[in-house]
Amino acid sequence: MKRRRTKRIKLFLFFFLLILASGLALLFFLSGPGEKVKVMAKKEAAPQESSPAEPLRRQVILYFPSAEDDLLHPELREIKAASPEIEAEEIIQELMAGSKEGYLSPLPPQTRIRQVFITRDGTAYVDFSRELVERHPSGSAAELTTIYAIVNSLISNIKSIKQVFFLIEGSERETLSGHINLNRPFSALPSIIAR
C-alpha cells in the first residue's frame, strides 16, 4: 500500500515535471528570434509633465500656413496636459480645427487622426485617415506645407518626439500626391517658420 503510494507520487511528480518542461519549451520557442517580438513601445512611461490628479493645461505652439507667404506662422493654443501620444493627437486635432488668427488650414478638414504611437527612439508614427490623401489639394508646395506644419508642430512641442513618420489608414504610403517621399521619417524644418 505504502509502496504503491510512493510510486503514485513519483508518477505525479514525473508528469508534473513533464508538463513544466513542455511549458517552458513552449515559451522558449514561441519567443523565437529577437526581431519577431519587436513590439512598438506604445504608451511608454510618459515623462510626467504634470501631476495626473488635476487636469492641467499646457501651452503649445502650432504652425499654420498663411495666404501671404510660404512660411509657417506660430499660433499659441492650450491643450490638456497628458501622455505624449495624447498630446500629439490633440495638437493635430487643433491643427485640423484651423487657425483662430486667420491663417490657412494645413490639411483637409475632413481628415481624422487614427492613432499616434511613439517609439523608444523618438519616432512618432502618426496614422491619418485616407482623406489626408484623397482630399489633399496636391502639388509640391501643398505637400510640403502639410507635412511640415504637422512635423514642426509635433516636434517643437513634445520632447519625446524627434522625428515623424506618416501612415495612412494604418499603412505606409509613398507620397501624399506624387511628390514628397513618405517612406522616411521627417525631422523638424525650422527654416520655414516665420520669425
Binding site: I19, G139, A142, G178, N181
Partner: protein
C-alpha cells in the same frame, strides 16, 4: 475495496488527461520548431554552356519581384516570416557575387554581374519555393545599334511602345535625320560623354497631380512641356532622349527612376507644375533631392560622395555588395553636388526666359529623385493653383519657352562640365 477501485479509476483518468495534454502540447509546437529551419533561403549559381543559372529555393512560399539595374539584377522577396540566407560560393563567368539585405519592405538578393549587357528569364515554382533565373549575355553588336529585342522578358511586352511599365525593355533610339547646325558640335569632348537624357513628365493616368482652379491638370501640362523639350533636344543635339511616359498613363515613381537607370541615363529632368494652399502662390523653382539618412547610411553616403563619380572602381570587392544595397534606395545620394549645379543653371535660364517670379533652387525629399543614379532635378515650372499662372501653363507659347529655358540650361550645363 470499492473506494480503492474508484481511486484507481480516477488515477487512470488523470493519467490519460496528462498524457493527452502533453501530446497536445508537443503536437502544437513541433511544427513551429520545424518552421524555424524553413525560413532559410538558399541560392546557388550554375554556369551552363551558353547561360548562367541562379537558383533560389526556400521552404516558405515567397512573393518575388525582379528588376534589372545596370549590371545588377535585384530580386525582392516578400514574406511574413523573417528569412535567413545562405549561398553556395559563387564561381561563374557572369555572376560575380550575391548580396543579401533586409529592407523595410522585405528582403533583397542582389545578383551582381560582370557586365550590364545581359538579359534574363525566370520561372517560379510556388511549393516548395524554387526560383530559377537564367541569365544570358546579349550578343555583341555595334555600339549605337538598334535595341535588342531579346531583352524583353515577357512576349507581350514586345508589342508595347517605348514607355510604360516594362522597365527592363530599352527604349528605341530614334534615328536622327540630317545633322544641321547642331549645338553640340561646339561642345568640348568631355560633355559629349553625356549620351542619354531622361525627361520625366510628372504624374499621368489616374494620378492627375494638382488641379488648377479652372480644371487644368498638372499631368497634361507636364506631358506637353516634356514632348516639346524632347523634340528640341533631339533636333539640336545628338543626344538620346527617353521619356518616362509619352502619353497619359500611370507610371509608378519607382519605375521612373528604374527606367532612367536601366537606360543608363546621364541626366534626369522631372517636370512638374506646382500647387499650393494659398491661391496667390506663384513663380518657378528647381529642386534637387534632400536626403535624411540614418547615421549608418550617412557614414556610407559620405564615403560615396567623396568617391563619386568613379566610386565603383575604388570600392574593394568585399564592400561592394553592402554599398550596392544603398544604391537601390538612395542612388541619388552620390550625385547631389552635380544635381545642385544642374538645378542652379536651369533655374537661371527659367528666370531669364519666363518672366515668372524666381523662387530659387530648393531641396526636398522627392520620391522620384531618390533612386536615380545620375544628376537629377525636378522643375516646378509655375503654380497651376494660381489662376494667372494656370492660364500661362495652358498656353502653347509659354510651354515652348519653358522647354527652351530648360534646353538652354541643359546646354550651359553640358558646356560647363569639361
Amino acid at each position: 475495496m470499492a473506494r480503492r477501485q474508484k481511486a484507481a479509476h480516477i488515477y487512470a483518468l488523470k493519467k490519460l488527461i496528462f498524457l493527452l495534454f502533453s501530446i497536445f502540447i508537443l503536437w502544437s509546437f513541433f511544427p513551429y520548431v520545424f518552421s524555424q529551419t524553413n525560413n532559410l533561403v538558399q541560392a546557388k549559381v550554375e554556369d551552363r554552356t551558353d547561360s548562367t543559372r541562379v537558383i533560389i529555393t526556400s521552404g516558405l512560399p515567397l512573393e518575388v519581384f525582379l528588376n534589372k539595374f545596370g549590371s545588377s539584377l535585384e530580386v525582392r522577396l516578400k514574406s511574413p516570416e523573417s528569412l535567413r540566407f545562405r549561398s553556395e560560393p559563387v564561381r561563374s563567368r557572369l555572376v560575380r557575387a550575391l548580396g543579401w539585405a533586409s529592407t523595410k519592405q522585405g528582403y533583397l538578393i542582389a545578383i551582381d554581374c560582370a557586365t550590364a549587357d545581359f538579359y534574363y528569364k525566370n520561372s517560379i515554382q510556388p511549393r516548395p519555393f524554387r526560383l530559377e533565373i537564367e541569365l544570358r549575355l546579349i550578343p555583341q553588336q555595334e555600339e549605337h545599334s538598334q535595341p535588342q529585342p531579346q531583352i524583353q522578358v515577357k512576349p507581350e511586352e514586345k508589342m508595347s511602345s517605348s514607355v510604360g511599365h516594362e522597365v527592363n525593355a530599352p527604349i528605341p533610339i530614334k534615328n536622327i535625320g540630317k545633322v544641321e547646325n547642331r549645338d553640340d558640335l561646339s561642345l568640348p569632348p568631355a560633355a559629349r560623354r553625356i549620351r542619354t537624357i531622361v525627361i520625366d513628365p510628372g504624374h499621368g493616368g489616374l494620378e492627375t497631380g494638382a488641379r488648377g482652379p479652372n480644371g487644368t491638370l498638372e499631368k497634361d501640362i507636364t506631358l506637353a512641356i516634356s514632348l516639346k523639350l524632347k523634340e528640341m533636344i533631339e533636333r539640336r543635339l545628338a543626344l538620346r532622349v527617353v521619356l518616362t511616359r509619352d502619353k497619359d498613363v500611370d507610371v509608378s515613381l519607382e519605375n521612373r527612376a528604374a527606367l532612367a537607370n536601366n537606360n543608363r541615363a546621364d541626366l534626369f529632368i522631372s517636370i512638374h507644375a506646382n500647387g499650393a494652399f494659398r491661391p496667390k502662390a506663384h513663380g518657378s523653382e528647381t529642386y534637387f533631392l534632400s536626403l535624411k539618412a540614418s547615421d549608418e547610411e550617412a557614414r556610407r553616403l559620405a564615403y560615396l560622395e567623396n568617391n563619386s563619380p568613379e566610386f565603383e572602381k575604388k570600392i574593394e570587392e568585399e564592400n561592394q555588395n553592402q554599398i550596392m544595397m544603398i544604391l537601390w534606395d538612395m542612388a541619388q545620394a552620390a550625385f547631389l553636388k552635380q544635381s545642385s549645379e544642374l538645378a542652379e543653371i536651369i533655374q537661371t535660364e527659367l528666370n531669364k526666359l519666363l518672366g515668372t517670379a524666381n523662387r530659387g533652387v530648393k531641396q526636398a525629399p522627392f520620391k522620384v529623385l531618390t533612386g536615380v543614379a545620375c544628376p537629377a532635378v525636378l522643375v516646378e515650372v509655375a503654380f497651376i493653383s494660381n489662376p494667372e499662372e494656370e492660364a500661362k501653363l495652358k498656353d502653347e507659347n509659354f510651354q515652348a519657352s519653358v522647354a527652351e529655358a530648360i534646353y538652354q540650361g541643359l546646354l550651359n550645363y553640358l558646356r560647363k562640365i569639361t
